[in-house]
Symmetry: C2
Subunit: 733 residues, 2 copies
């Protein structure tokens, strides 16, 4: 007999100014659990939709109150030995639990599970959870630094793509359940793969409330029982390995653990067998050359089941401002789009909350690897005992939960902690603690203290930098081992913009309006017009005359910009082994952002460019820059980019330059078969560009026999300047 869940509890909520305030009966409002106090308050008090216009500011300050949730202990008939338990996966952020007015439990943290035994509480007793105000280092400015002393994710304190809206409340599932006399508290599945992957030595650990024997079964992906065991360890011969979808099948087995005591508990979950390592890239040991000699760069090449793979992926951020409303249906379309874009790695960024189980379940099934960060980002997290205790507890809970998933690729301490804006370093105790906890609880998964580590690069996040280099040039001039963040902003589509920007503000675009609230202006301190980047768009095209024209231009830059970086990173293999754009998705509607998918799951045009650039096999061109001049000698290197694990037949690549509907064939490249995962450099093409007023040309690559590898690049072409009549020139001077 398994754990018996009870009907969902009915909750109410009241806002309090102090912890001891007693709400009047009229103060209570309905509460949705899981959810957030802000959402309940907005529903009850008629706050406007936070996603629209500048409404989000109406939510300011709600996080500074105490909030009291209440329900009652349910009436339930318990058999001998059964326990009634209230349990949940975590709370946002700090809470006291009271039964019949007595504080019986104090809890901190979004990912640390809690349990409260209610067996002895009379049915109908008041059960209350007092949520404390959001933690804030009050002396600091109203930004992420206010969260630098806690494990509460920093993103809701405000980011360049996330409004300041500090969530609070019962964000995770919380339920009452009846537990049999003997029940499972935690099941742990671990294994050692033989060096040649011919077998897996499995260990199943069952943590129980009382010492209890157990049996377990393992079913293969077709449901056949392949192991049935009464001992914790057993060996599986010829395990079907879990692969990312682009390299094989994400094979999942099913584990069933059953306590042998009569009437006892059972537990079922999907498991998989994979080996993930971070290894040195080919050639890494030869560098640095010469004396005084420093170390070689740290390993960042992913090796999955013994095969080095190029990681094509993206940075996953919170898909909702309010974690509590996330369901499997929130994750599913986003994750399927990632798979459809040929991505194999998601970096789950440390500014956001660690995802729910249903996220990892889907990654397991879809064959997506996860780079999982702990909740540290862009802050100086201190060595204080209180923070270390908080981080120790929360990180252990995260590791114990997530390590079970074959989709877990590796752990990372957090985002950009070894850079000036964070100020942490290798000696920081929080990062040494995380290294220790990962080593103790999941040592076979790699751990990096932060990203970037040495050799890796973050940024740029602009199509054109302050020195005038465009995004093509920036990355062709770089030699990083991994591009784990690079951004190329783009505006959101016009129809989408109209859903959350009031019509009166739509045109002309300007700061101080909903455009700025939704990150189109003053979002990132390195670029004043971020993320709409009007200054950069105008640099290439001059002032736009309509919203439609402005958006189309911005989309063009984002599409070609992202494509250029993904393909350049792949050309830089094996030194480079990773390309992850910043960012994939967003938690609310942005007017402009580095994202390629609008909230909640609407692909922007750039999504399809990234999808094209991430095909395991494609024809590619290394193009020196985006904008060309009439009469200039255009040139490009031709490549076949190949991450595919199987050998390919040869073919012919035809490069054509198109402008104004005219096609000029530049070269035909007959290439022989391709070895697995081996990109090939081909000829270069050159052509003097015409002078045409249409403003653009396209390089088209067609592959005979492999049409699915075809590519094209749409580039800007500036017409020659017409001679200015002398009289006019003089008048303007």
């Amino acid at each position: 007999m398994a754990i018996r869940p009870l009907a969902p509890l009915t909750w109410q909520l009241a806002r309090l100014s102090t912890a001891s305030e007693a709400p009047a009966s009229t103060d209570w409002i309905p509460a949705h659990v899981p959810g957030a106090v802000q959402l309940d308050w907005a529903a009850a008090r008629g706050l406007p939709d936070h996603n629209y216009g500048q409404n989000v500011r109406a939510y300011d300050g709600l996080e500074d109150f105490f909030w009291l949730y209440r329900t009652t202990v349910p009436a339930v008939k318990l058999a001998a030995g059964e326990r009634l338990v209230l349990t949940g996966g975590g709370i946002d952020y700090h809470a006291d639990f009271r039964v019949a007015g007595q504080t019986v439990l104090t809890h901190t943290g979004l990912c640390t599970p809690f349990e409260l035994d209610l067996t002895d509480a009379p049915a109908g007793s008041p059960l209350e959870i007092l949520i404390h105000p959001a933690p804030k280092r009050q002396a600091l400015p109203a930004d992420r630094s206010q969260a630098a002393h806690v494990t509460k994710p920093a993103v809701s304190y405000g980011w360049d793509w996330h409004p300041r809206l500090i969530t609070l409340g019962l964000c995770a599932d919380i339920r009452c359940e009846v537990r049999p006399a003997a029940h499972l508290r935690h099941v742990d599945f671990s294994y050692q793969l033989a060096g040649d992957f011919s077998s897996a030595q499995i260990t199943v650990t069952a943590e129980t409330n009382i010492p209890s024997a157990f049996t377990w079964k393992l079913r293969d992906p077709e449901g056949n029982v392949v192991i049935e065991s009464a001992t914790p360890t057993d060996t599986l011969a010829a395990p079907r390995l879990w692969w990312t979808h682009d390299h094989g099948e994400p094979a999942l087995y099913t584990l069933e653990v059953t306590l042998t005591a009569p009437g006892a508990d059972t537990h079922t979950r999907r498991v998989g067998f994979r080996s993930v390592r971070l290894v040195m890239h080919e050639g890494a040991w030869g560098q640095p050359a010469g004396f005084p000699k420093s170390r070689s760069t740290p390993p960042i090449t992913l090796e999955l089941n013994g095969r080095r793979i190029f990681a094509r992926g993206t940075n996953w951020v919170a898909p909702e401002i309010f974690t509590g409303v996330i369901t499997a249906d929130t994750y599913r379309p986003l994750l399927e789009l990632a798979r459809d874009a040929h991505m194999n790695l998601l970096r789950c960024w440390g500014g956001a909350q660690v995802s729910k189980e249903i996220f990892f379940d889907q990654c397991d099934a879809l064959g997506l690897l996860v780079w999982q960060e702990f909740p540290l980002a862009c802050n100086y997290y201190p060595d204080t005992p209180s923070y270390l205790a908080d981080l120790d507890r929360e990180s252990r809970a995260i590791i114990r939960r997530v390590r079970q998933h074959p989709s877990l690729g590796f752990w990372c301490g957090g985002n950009e902690l070894f850079n000036a804006w964070s100020g942490m370093d290798d000696q920081s105790h929080p990062l040494r603690l995380l290294n220790r906890n990962c080593f103790e609880l999941d040592r076979d998964s790699p751990f990096i203290p932060t990203a970037p580590i040495g050799g890796m690069g973050h940024g740029d996040y602009r199509f054109r930098d302050e020195t005038g280099r465009d995004i093509f040039q920036i990355f062709q001039g770089s030699a990083n081992t991994a591009y784990s963040e690079f951004g190329c902003p783009g505006p959101s589509p016009v129809a989408y913009l109209k859903t959350f920007i009031p019509e009166a503000e739509l045109w002309p675009v300007r700061p101080g309006t909903s455009w700025e609230t939704h990150h189109a202006f003053n979002a990132w301190d390195m670029e004043p017009t971020s993320w709409l980047c009007t200054a950069i768009i105008e640099h290439y095209f001059g002032p736009a005359t309509s919203l439609e024209q402005l958006v189309a231009r911005g989309e063009w830059l984002q599409c070609e910009g992202y494509k250029s970086v993904y393909e350049e990173a792949r050309r830089q293999a094996p030194r480079c082994s990773m390309a992850l754009n910043w960012c994939y998705n967003e938690p609310w509607p942005s007017a402009a952002n580095n994202s390629i998918i609008n909230y909640p799951a609407l692909p922007k045009p750039a999504y399809y460019s990234v999808q094209a650039a991430c095909r395991p096999l494609l024809a590619s061109a290394r193009i020196p820059k985006f904008q060309w001049n009439a009469h200039e000698l255009f040139s490009a290197e031709l490549w076949l980019l190949n991450d595919h694990p199987a050998a390919q037949t040869g073919g012919e690549l035809i490069a054509t330059l198109e402008h104004d509907g005219q096609l000029t064939e530049l070269v035909r490249w007959n290439f022989s078969g391709l070895a697995p995962q081996q990109s090939v450099a081909g000829p270069s093409v050159r052509m003097v560009l015409p002078d045409t007023p249409c403003g653009e040309f396209t390089l088209v690559l067609s592959v005979t026999g492999h049409r699915e590898w075809n590519s094209s690049y749409r580039l800007s072409l500036k017409p020659a300047r017409r001679p200015v009549p002398v009289s006019t020139a003089t008048m303007n001077a």
Copy 2:
């Protein structure tokens, strides 16, 4: 009543071919404990002195035998509750203990203490310790890689300055003692200094054999009791901080811990209060600039008691081949010479064994900081469970012992592990394990996984590299954060050479003789004539005509080479904060070596150059190169190098160029007072050099009012080539 040591045990030793072989009565030889089986065997069987000529080869293979030590359980009258215990600090390397023929204990490791309770063994029972053959990965070449699976230090497997002579035996103190009914097993002293160093929160932990209350006293450096406490924690107001000798007083307190049970144990030790951190250097956060942006370099600047200090020091290696013969008198002259050379940091290199307590005691007293490595060096130490268990045990023992010493600066995983010749990386489990153990057992002392880490540099180890840069140029062209190894080899003095090189081999020098055995040829694979470096000496001076001339030339290069690097590193502050030459001392007589002190404690001329370059205050010249040509324009930048913690009055620096007894004054630089720890750049001097056959000139810097800051630089001057008579030239062509 304290632990009562008994009279030293009398040991005998026998060499066995197998573990089970029973020695004949004539097989037994006298054994010295602590010592080594090789030394006892040599004494008994008349092997020649291993330090002389090529005799060391006579010791080959002794490490492949089993060796049986024997003694008898002493007769001792025990009071009620007392225990008779055999105890020691470790064994080289793996041993079985037998009492009356029964194996009662198995032990591994040089630093892990052991205990064997003999209370119930009848007096006179045979007590045997069977030493197993030295661990060797037999399939590998006869070099350090044979030790890559164990914590036995790799150095005795052969190094470029250490013969292959793999030690074995009872290398540490081993004794029988009578322990009172209640006794102390371990006393731990830890403390937290207030941020402003105004107080120390002390915690004293006493591990006892049975639960026992204790009291403790703390005496200040003058012997006055400042705390007397019966609780584990107490606060010391205004602690006198422990400083390195160049920055203050190495203040030592005395801790006395006494068990309160009648007749129980007491323990006394010196302790000190200091804070050591590794911090980012000034300007570090500004780099790297530009995108894609990697991390800033890891911190390596030492901060002692809140003050950033420049680390002037050296690499300490094993002072004896056989650890067992080391006493306080072995360490004392070497450590006093280090202090006298103004050094404040010793890097205790991971190839060698961790030093004995008497080493750290002396460092505590002399005010020398220690960078302590674990026994990993230049090898790939694997992730295997057996090695990890070995390393876990040994490293915990090392940390528990050494963390008690105020002289402990920081921990390091080992030597050059992130370079090609080792092949370990940030994911290596042994290094993650060491990080964990240091974090758990001594988290307030910094930990680095290896040296070099990013930004730090090791090498070069030659006066002139293969591209023709001399050592002046190599380091003036570098920008590392720390030079934690740099070498400049020099020959040993002639009189010293004659003590271990047979007269017939002394001249001409050549490989294949005792010169090569003692590291003058083919020592380092990057330089065939290492370490005598005849090719480099001849490059500057042509062939030598006598041993005396060759040695004098080599000494000249070593003296000026080392001086140039120490002073250049100091000029590169604050980016650079550390200069440690490779190496300080040596374990046996070298014919040529990067060392500055010959075995056992004989300073080479280079010692005095290093001493001059490490003065906290000195006049210094940045000289572009060592060898100049007649008529060439000589130039040099003048500096005042200043690591002194107090402000200094001004003065006048007079730069003079001397050749053939002629003095030319180049400049007078009047400088005002110097701020603490602030070096100052002064004028440059220039002068066209004369054409003189004497072959050298000297730049002399004299400081009026601060004669102790005077410096001089002896440089090479090549006479102009004389026109060659035409007939001769033709004949030679």
